[in-house]
Subunit: 253 residues, 2 copies
């Protein structure tokens, strides 16, 4: 029996419209689909009739399927000769344990292909109508997770010192501490936004200054999954939206 | 006459397969297409029969269409009631003057929609088979342009000090200076890669250490358009590719 293969497919932010053609083709070609947490359930409408669907993440306080178990499943099906498609939200190569999964599969002699997708930071910026890197404001953007393996925090001071736009993932629950830490280096009137469910029909956004973003996010009940965007480039959109009097996203300073 | 609108559409790295469905729909709905430099010509196969195509970038030593002229064209057609689709390579919200174009159009009362796409840094990582943010190595990734408005350089020392993976755009022609500057902070054996035409059939890549990447890129004739990736996370792929004896991408240290 020939060894199968695994394709890591990036599902983007959620709306099927934001999938790439290559992602849709990979899903249609799968024998087994392992679908991650936060991926839109409608994605299974793209699969072949015979393909088996396994959900490997649970929301709502339940424990997620352990990583080791997911990796065992992928190995098992691939070694049975199946084409396994592992679907991850956003882009699989940004904050998704893909590195560990690729290493594990390759060590078992299993080929791994990767299909890119739209990460939520990009979708959030599109919703706000801003460039992540408006050249009047910065030379680039940092994508950073607030959720570190050992429970510690990223070095916010060093990140702020770069002058780049910050796109902070998995930080909604600790936005108060993050904005306080960043406020030691960045002016408190630095533009900021939090976008929940970016790139989906449920998208919800709050814009404010760095000094006020935590309180505003709390009062609007913005929770995970959300991306926090901070920097002058983000303010371009805020000012524009304010000028067009979209109350959802007005500079509260 | 009603005012038209402008949709900024991200074409991704080049292969039409890496377009999103939303991008393809926007292109099909356009009356006028303004197509940027580096975008795959085949994209016009997706347009409506009546749609007019205007190329607004030239390669091969010619001067690009001036930004102000592009903005005037978009305004003119939109104010004539047309649906203008402006197609940019990669993701329009990363290093593409989108911020300026959005501001200009909105100041003229023209609605602007944005459709995301795959940026070349993501495509480069997919080709290398690496996560941009393997959690054994880093907490995130910095996308930075080496080509600053005023001819200066980004503060490489500060960027290196963050410990993040670096994805450096528009740096191929000055890779020697960049790797030298980063080498003042990062170990010279930090894994590095340069990927030209990432995400296209022409993709070409070189992997080495930070200390040797410039010489290797030169000996393999890697030139613009290319993205430079630097950091421990990138080495995961290099080691794996080396183990599978893909000579194209072997750690030369």
């Amino acid at each position: 029996m020939n060894t199968g293969k695994v394709t890591l497919v990036s599902a983007g932010p959620g709306d099927l419209d934001l999938l790439t053609f290559r992602a849709a083709k990979a899903i249609a070609a799968a024998d087994v689909l392992l679908i991650d947490d936060l991926v839109n359930d409608e994605i299974t409408t793209l699969k072949a009739a015979h393909a088996r669907v396994i959900k490997v993440g649970k929301r709502g306080g339940c424990k997620s399927t352990p990583q080791a178990f997911i990796q065992r499943l992928m190995r098992r099906y691939a070694l049975q000769g199946r084409h396994v498609v592992r679907i991850k939200g956003g882009d699989a190569l940004l904050f998704g344990r893909a590195g560990e999964e690729i290493a594990d599969l390759r060590s078992a002699g299993i080929d791994v292909d990767i299909v890119n997708g739209i990460s939520s930071g990009f979708a959030a910026a599109a919703g706000l109508g801003v460039s992540l890197t408006h050249r009047d404001h910065c030379q680039g953007v940092i994508f950073v997770t607030a959720h570190l393996r050992d429970g510690s925090e990223p070095d916010w001071e060093k990140l702020a010192a770069t002058g780049m736009t910050l796109a902070i993932y998995m930080g909604a629950s600790r936005i108060e501490g993050i904005s306080e830490a960043l406020g030691k280096t960045l002016p408190v009137d630095t533009p900021a936004a939090v976008v929940q469910w970016a790139g989906t029909s449920r998208e919800k956004r709050v814009c404010a200054t760095l000094g006020e973003i935590a309180a505003r996010a709390a009062s609007e009940n913005i929770a995970s999954p959300a991306v926090i965007l901070i920097g002058g480039a983000i303010g371009e959109g805020v000012a524009q939206l304010a000028a067009r009097s979209e109350s959802m996203c007005r500079l509260s300073a």
